[in-house]
Amino acid sequence: MAYVPHSDADIQAMLETIGVTSMADLFDSIPAAQRSTAAIDVPSALPEVDVVREVTRLARRNAELVCFAGGGIYDHYAPSAVNHILLRSEWYTAYTPYQPEVAQGSLQVIYEFQTMIAELFGLDVANASMYDGPTAAAEAVVMALGVKPDRTDVVIGDSIHPHTRQVISTASGARQLVSLPFGPDGRVDLTKVGDALRGAACVVVQQPNFLGVIEDLEAIAAAAQEAGALLIVAADPVAMAILKSPGSQGADVVVGEGQGLGCAPSFGGPVVGLFAARRDYLRRMPGRLSGATVDHDGRRGFVLTLQAREQQIRREKATSNICTNQALLALAATVHLALLGRTGLRHIAERSLEGAHHAFDAITALPGYEPLVDGPFFKEFAVRTPKPARAILGHAAERGVLAGVALTRFPGFVDREALLIAVTEKRTDDEIARLVDALRTA
């Protein structure tokens, strides 16, 4: 009743105009056997205030912890203005910009977003967003398989996020996933790359990788090129402020999880998948694209373009089945990056880097905590723990700290008693000290 706006008189008048006598008549087209009469088994209607109380109760059933967990979702700070922009109903209550004349706001934002993502990743074109980082990676694999129709192998670094691997495996239709091990430095073992790549459509690595380590992309790119395989890199856009861009290092497709750009962790969603590629692959890209054009008076305007790639036009021949994407989060990322600007993003990256290194130094100085791998890392690192990582997490949580992620929870890492610890610019020295203390006393 809350949101159906009619009075009884309205309803009567409308039924009359329709020419039926009751609401029930409106459902006549459902054969009697398929009509259900029993009430839906959900609780009774509640006033707004009571629902607020209930949903708040649930929110409080989630512990409030100082977050050192990463693994794809990072507790970066989103400036307040991001949310204020998002709260304008012009943005969040609009649909996909199918009528460009009344959607220039959304279309220009997508264009700006595409520009920013392409720039961060060092590539020619980026799309309007994918569901998240892992599904973007799966789309990239599908694209690569399409580009290389005679190849079926997909080579995946073991240093990639296990969830990304799972999503690729589930959702890309890839037939053959070939593993690429990592060495003691946590980086893809370059000596194995060449072999693995023979006959592969693509190789997928992550930058920085699942263990936080920065891969030697140039070497991997060289090997991929040599083998005629596409190089797909799943990159952290925040790291791009300081690291060489994968595009400049030879990647063909760069995907990524954009959550760190102004999106709340939100238990993993909604976040925003990033997808950028070399221009060569433009017409094979998944997802929406906003392009600049002009109206009849020559005014600049934007439209969804190259739609002949998409399901609404191409149906079974589409490059992807994606329709609804994560537009609002792409807006968040765009506003976020605009607010931070060139130097702001760099400060955030450097501060995360510094905090992570301070935490690393302090933690690896504790007895029993040792680096899992020894490659250069950005804002995240893995340490072996003297006790089961899950027990340490419980101990730290009692002290109000989410001390990272237990590697044992991931396929491929189940026997590694280690914590993956992420430090963003949001973590103060004090909080890092609390973390170290929690680990020490665990």
Binding site: V4, S36, S44, V52, R61, N62, V167, E257, A264, F378
Partner: protein, 488 residues
């Protein structure tokens, strides 16, 4: 003259506003640069060219751009199939509570019991609405739900020895259906609709064989009409050992009135961003939970959710699972909104939603039908009109759509479904008031009249929008997809 609110024309790009050296939002800084921690060869030389724009100007930029959008909070947004209903404000607040927005998906279960309880309750409600046995909340949108469903079908058939090769898709289906099936490595066979716009049972029987994995049925169909033979269809499909997938994008018409589980559906997706009032966000995010019968439950994505008394946990150890279709547990923030909506409506309110949706659409159809023909009759929650009668005046459906913009309304979905020529697919949703419907009907009739009398006004529309009709072919021929910095 420039319109009010005043809008410079065009609004510059955020990059065009950039001037180096201007401060952004104040952020924490490191005491030492990146070189102190990382080898130089890993570091970039030039920072990415993000714009240098002060906070205030950034805010103004995105406020100004926002004014160039139509949106639900202005006026009717009658996009058929999209269910552009009111997005209750309280949903937004709930999703933003720090205890929901701030939680990390890799937190051990014992510290996110509230999130798991909420998801469990959403799952239970959707199962009850679907009349089905099990569910996954992981798919982040409808198309992803479809994909999940078809992968479940593949797993199901594979477990029975033959993954099968073909998925049947009616010609009236949404583009995501065939695209999904193809993406899941099935051959797509299109099923022609019959004169009623429904599944042609004979054609269905003819198409079915042991290679067919599933039929993807939309019910109500994209014509807004209930597939009256659905039980028969289910039987035919099942007899061939195939599965019946239902695209549940149109559940707004059925809430509390009919349960897909009750008419033989094996798996279906919901669009929470349609039926359950979560906002479309200018294109997303959504959520596409998939409900299934017990036979398909073993294959659901991991983790699944289980309850032991007051405790909830995510279960990963599901050997038959298809795996993961999203990096984490789906669009949780969307689930919070949907949960809020479900609780405010409650069992009584949800049934009223379907009533209101059908009442509003049937009323609007009644008001328009004398002028705009309905080749297949009015639908339940949406109706598909045909604009062919305007051809004689040189006016197309596209023109009507554009002309509507001048009156402050959004256009309907047009040229879809494909089985209606010059289709105008209108879905008012239950949240439109009678006044609003009357205004919209009046404008539609007035446009038909204009098309007869002053067709140029219609074919030249829109006249009042920030830009006029845009050169789409130029956009496609010379793709300009990002800003090019001046080379100096």
């Amino acid at each position: 003259m420039t319109p009010f609110p005043y809008q410079p024309d065009p609004t510059p790009l955020i990059f065009e506003r950039s001037k180096p050296g201007r401060p952004g939002v104040p952020v924490p800084r490191a005491t030492r640069g990146a070189e102190a921690y990382l080898p130089a060869e890993l570091l970039r030389e030039e920072p990415p060219r993000l714009p240098d724009v002060p906070e205030f100007e950034v805010v103004r930029h995105y406020v100004e751009l926002s004014l160039k959008n139509h949106h639900v909070d202005r006026a009717l947004y009658p996009l058929g199939s999209c269910t552009m209903k009111y997005n209750p404000k309280v949903n937004e607040d709930m999703a933003r509570l720090p205890g929901h927005a701030g939680i990390h998906p890799l937190t051990p279960d014992e510290f996110v019991q509230g999130a798991l309880e909420l998801m469990y309750e959403v799952a239970e409600a959707l199962k009850a609405i679907a009349g089905m046995d099990a569910i996954t909340l992981q798919p982040p949108a409808g198309a992803s739900g479809e994909m999940t469903g078809i992968l479940l079908a593949r797993a199901y058939h594979t477990a029975r020895g033959n993954p099968r090769k073909v998925v049947l898709v009616p010609d009236s289906a949404h583009g995501t259906n065939p695209a999904t099936a193809a993406r899941a490595d099935y051959a797509v066979r299109s099923l022609k609709s019959d004169a009623r716009g429904q599944i042609d049972l004979a054609a269905l029987r003819a198409a079915l064989n042991e290679d067919v994995a599933a039929l993807m049925l939309t019910n109500p169909s994209t014509l807004g009409r209930f597939e009256t033979d659905v039980t028969e269809i289910a039987k035919i499909v099942h007899d061939a050992g195939a599965l019946l997938y239902m695209d549940g994008a149109n559940m707004n018409a059925l809430l509390g009135r009919a349960r897909p589980g009750g008419f033989g559906v094996d798996m279906m997706h919901f669009n929470l961003h349609k039926t359950f009032s979560t906002p479309h966000g200018g294109g997303g995010p959504g959520a596409g939970p998939v409900a299934v019968t017990a036979a398909l439950a073993p294959y659901l994505p991991v983790p699944t959710l289980e309850r032991d008394g007051e405790r909830y946990r995510r279960v990963w150890d599901r050997p038959d699972s298809i795996g993961k279709v999203h990096g984490f547990d789906g669009n949780y923030g969307v689930l919070v909104r949907a949960y809020t909506y479900i609780r405010i409506n409650g069992r009584e309110g949800l049934a009223r939603v379907a009533e209101g949706a059908v009442l509003n659409n049937r009323y609007l159809s009644a008001r328009m039908a004398d002028t705009y023909p309905l080749p297949f009759g009015p639908g339940m929650h949406e109706s598909v009109f045909s604009g062919t009668f305007l051809r004689e005046h040189g006016v197309k459906t596209l023109d009507v759509a554009k002309r509507l913009l001048d009156f402050g309304f959004h256009a309907p979905t047009i040229y879809f479904p494909l089985i209606v020529p010059e289709a105008l697919m209108i879905e008012p949703t239950e949240t439109a008031t009678k006044d609003e419907l009357d205004r919209f009907a009046d404008v539609m009739l007035a446009i038909a009249d204009e098309a007869r009398r002053t067709p140029d006004v219609v074919t030249g529309a829109p006249h009042t929008t920030p830009v006029g009709r845009l050169d789409e072919s130029k956009a496609a021929r010379q793709p300009n997809l990002k800003y090019e910095w001046p080379t100096d």
